[in-house]
């Protein structure tokens, strides 16, 4: 067997990211005493370089390398760019939080970059092994980052829960993948698709494999009934980590859904569509109804995240390219909204005053009108109030579901969107109409942080006023022209 050198230039962003991260890992040990901020800035510069590398060689057609285990297409590049942008936001806010809580370690940023690398691998994976390895690289980095605040019992508990349930989910998924290999005899997603098209596949084994794969995916996404870990982990983890968990990995999880269910198992649609419909319906109901009872903002956002995952799965359950495009549109916007929401919590938080309870936001308008306005943007966007982008993403997934004939699911989605509006608007009511417990003005936040918060929250309004281009980006990357 002769060995052909694979086309490495396609994987240049990943190679550069890995090299720079490894360098940073070593450099951090030297810098940690003399120049604390160096690691942070180097992290941001690394992300900018990688983002530029993706952008400068933007793929317009599908190219495969490494013997069919790596793919570069428009979808992968668009998702990678969004991951980079969201990660820059994550690290910006995290640094502030870590400095305030005296938990600033260079390893946080190094592990964060490894997590980004794992996401890149997942987004570009074209066979089952690489998909699994990417997922594991990302998850391992996440477990460690949550547990890094050692003296915090809550963080340790969250890390432990996430680790055990994550390992269980990985086991399920791996078992499903091995069965898929047993049914089709190939690891490559295109090979699996061809095998399915040829009709030589044992359908019982295929359905069995799909059940385990979908369970694994649902666990990772936090869809009901595999959602039990989400509120505890979001609540227990330090806010900087919740911010990470709730944003960029969701984009990568969408990529995994797309690669497995669409690139690989498109022809098994009748088998997985029903499961996804159930997951979507349950997630939307539980996410919307249980969040009403929460008094902690992080828990509330965790349940709202479960609800959002339900909407994404509804788009996927539509089972056509339009459905996937709308789901992608939704998940990207959700990731940006999460950065804005948790970023706001981080900017308000002081050591000893976490701004986690909804009651802490009582009368925020009197204490800091600008931040209250930004929070209003975030809450309106999450609730899906028209001028904000949150409205358009909901319309997109509901339209996809209706076009696919899932009218009852679309009706349920609208009802649940109305129910969830209650708890988003409650936060707004608490900020604007309740009397504050303390009347003192809040300490002013740093200019950098203020700018970042303002930017990430007002982007939601800006995108909402001009939703065309981001929507077009998502639809184009799946080879569709925009319908709306």
């Amino acid at each position: 067997m002769t060995f052909e050198i694979p086309n490495l230039s396609l994987a240049l962003p990943e190679i550069v990211l890995l090299t720079l991260t490894s360098l940073l890992l070593v450099a951090d040990t030297f810098w940690s005493r003399t120049c604390r901020d160096c690691t942070y800035w180097a992290t941001q510069i690394t992300l900018l370089i990688v983002g530029w590398l993706v952008f400068s060689d933007f793929a317009t057609q599908t190219q495969v390398t490494f013997d069919g285990s790596f793919v570069r297409d428009t979808l992968s590049d668009v998702l990678k760019l969004f991951i980079v942008v969201v990660s820059i936001g994550i690290f910006l806010f995290s640094r502030e939080y870590l400095l305030q809580h005296k938990a600033y370690h260079g390893e946080f940023f190094v592990l964060g970059l490894f997590g980004v690398l794992g996401m890149f691998v997942m987004v570009s994976a074209y066979n089952l092994i690489t998909l699994y390895l990417g997922l594991e690289i990302m998850s391992l980095a996440l477990y460690a980052m949550i547990a890094m605040q050692r003296h915090s019992d809550r963080a340790s508990e969250a890390a432990m829960k996430y680790f055990v349930l994550g390992a269980l989910a990985t086991g399920m998924m791996l078992y499903g993948m091995s069965m898929l290999y047993g049914a089709t005899g190939t690891l490559e997603l295109t090979g699996i698709a061809q095998k399915l098209a040829s009709g030589e596949v044992d359908n019982t084994v295929l359905a069995f494999a799909l059940v385990f794969i979908v369970i694994g995916l649902a666990f990772k996404l936090g869809a009901v009934p595999f959602h039990m870990w989400v509120p505890d982990v979001y609540h227990g983890a330090p806010t900087a980590m919740t911010l990470y968990l709730a944003s960029a990995p969701k984009i990568a999880a969408f990529a995994m859904l797309y690669r497995l269910l669409w690139d690989g198992l498109q022809l098994a649609l009748p088998d997985w569509q029903g499961m996804l419909v159930i997951l979507a319906a349950l997630s939307m109901v539980v996410g919307s109804v249980v969040a009403i009872a929460q008094t902690n903002l992080k828990r509330m956002l965790a349940y709202s995240g479960i609800g959002h995952v339900g909407f994404v799965l509804m788009g996927v359950a539509a089972g056509d390219a339009e459905g996937f495009a709308s789901a992608m549109f939704y998940i990207v916007v959700y990731a940006i909204t999460s950065v804005a929401a948790f970023g706001l919590m981080i900017s308000l938080a002081r050591a000893g005053m976490e701004f986690e309870e909804i009651d802490d936001y009582r009368g925020l308008n009197d204490r800091n009108p600008w931040l209250a306005l930004m929070m209003l943007f975030v809450m309106f966007s999450m609730a899906g109030v028209p001028p904000f982008i949150g409205f358009f993403v909901k319309v997109a997934v509901i339209e996809a579901a209706v076009n696919a004939g899932l009218v009852w699911l679309a009706v349920l989605a609208v009802v649940m969107a109305v129910v969830s509006a209650f708890y988003y608007l409650r936060v707004v009511k608490v900020m604007y109409f309740d009397k504050p417990a303390e009347t003192s003005r809040l300490e002013p936040i740093s200019t950098q942080l203020g700018l970042a918060v303002s930017l990430s929250a007002s982007v939601l309004l800006l995108f909402g006023l001009f939703p065309g281009w981001i929507m077009e980006l998502c639809y184009r990357s799946l080879g569709l022209s925009v319908v709306a």
Partner: protein, 215 residues
């Protein structure tokens, strides 16, 4: 039943029994030893399936290295067993029920009907067939990308483990031995000669009287 089948079922039964013992014995050291048995019998099954390299690697790496380390860790940790076993008997019936149902369902799919010898016929190999080479060549060519990624995964594991266990304490809190400094030290760094003027204590006649009075 052929001899090969007999051997297979014997080792499979040992592996299953050992696996059951791993999760039921009370002593974690014994559990680790049962795990050794489970691995060894699984390795035997693999060798029977003509995957000699994997079977040997399982014994060398898992039994030889990983489990020995594991045993050390288990012996060093003082785990409270009674606490960990709490709730075991309470949830046992429902656990057994669920696992039996799941086992039945899995058996229907993974049983001989779908994965029997009719569907997956063992291939005959010539005498010059090398199992190791069959694994090595695709591993370093076809799966080169995955191979590198596995290395990255291990690196992340190392970074995570060190980041979670390393305690950077300032030197004032913990005592570290700085051998360089110890070697370089000279007498004048440690010893200071201080001139102390001689003092003569004056007589204290009152004290003497008091002492006598006390007597």
């Amino acid at each position: 039943m052929s001899f090969e089948q007999l051997v297979f079922y014997a080792f499979a039964a040992i592996a299953a029994f050992a696996g059951l013992m791993v999760i039921t014995v009370r002593n974690p050291v014994k559990a680790a030893l049962w795990l050794v048995l489970a691995f060894v019998s699984t390795a035997a099954v693999w060798i029977l399936a003509e995957a000699e390299f994997l079977g040997l690697v399982l014994i060398l790496v898992y039994v030889g290295a990983v489990l020995v380390l594991f045993l050390f860790v288990v012996m060093m940790l003082d785990i409270n067993l009674a606490e960990m076993k709490e709730g075991f008997t309470r949830y046992l019936p429902i656990g057994v029920l669920v696992s039996l149902v799941v086992f039945g369902l899995i058996y229907m799919v993974v049983g001989p009907e779908h994965f029997g010898l009719e569907q997956f016929k063992p291939t005959e190999h010539g005498p010059d067939y090398s199992n190791t080479k069959e694994i090595a060549v695709p591993l370093y060519t076809q799966h080169a990308y995955a191979f590198v990624l596995a290395a990255v995964l291990l690196l992340v594991g190392i970074v995570a483990a060190i980041a979670l266990t390393l305690r950077r304490r300032p030197p004032s809190e913990a005592l570290y031995q700085d051998i360089d400094a110890q070697v370089r030290v000279r007498a004048e760094d440690r010893l200071t000669m201080v001139k102390i003027p001689a003092e003569v204590e004056p007589d204290l006649p009152e004290n003497k009287e008091e002492e006598e009075g006390a007597k």
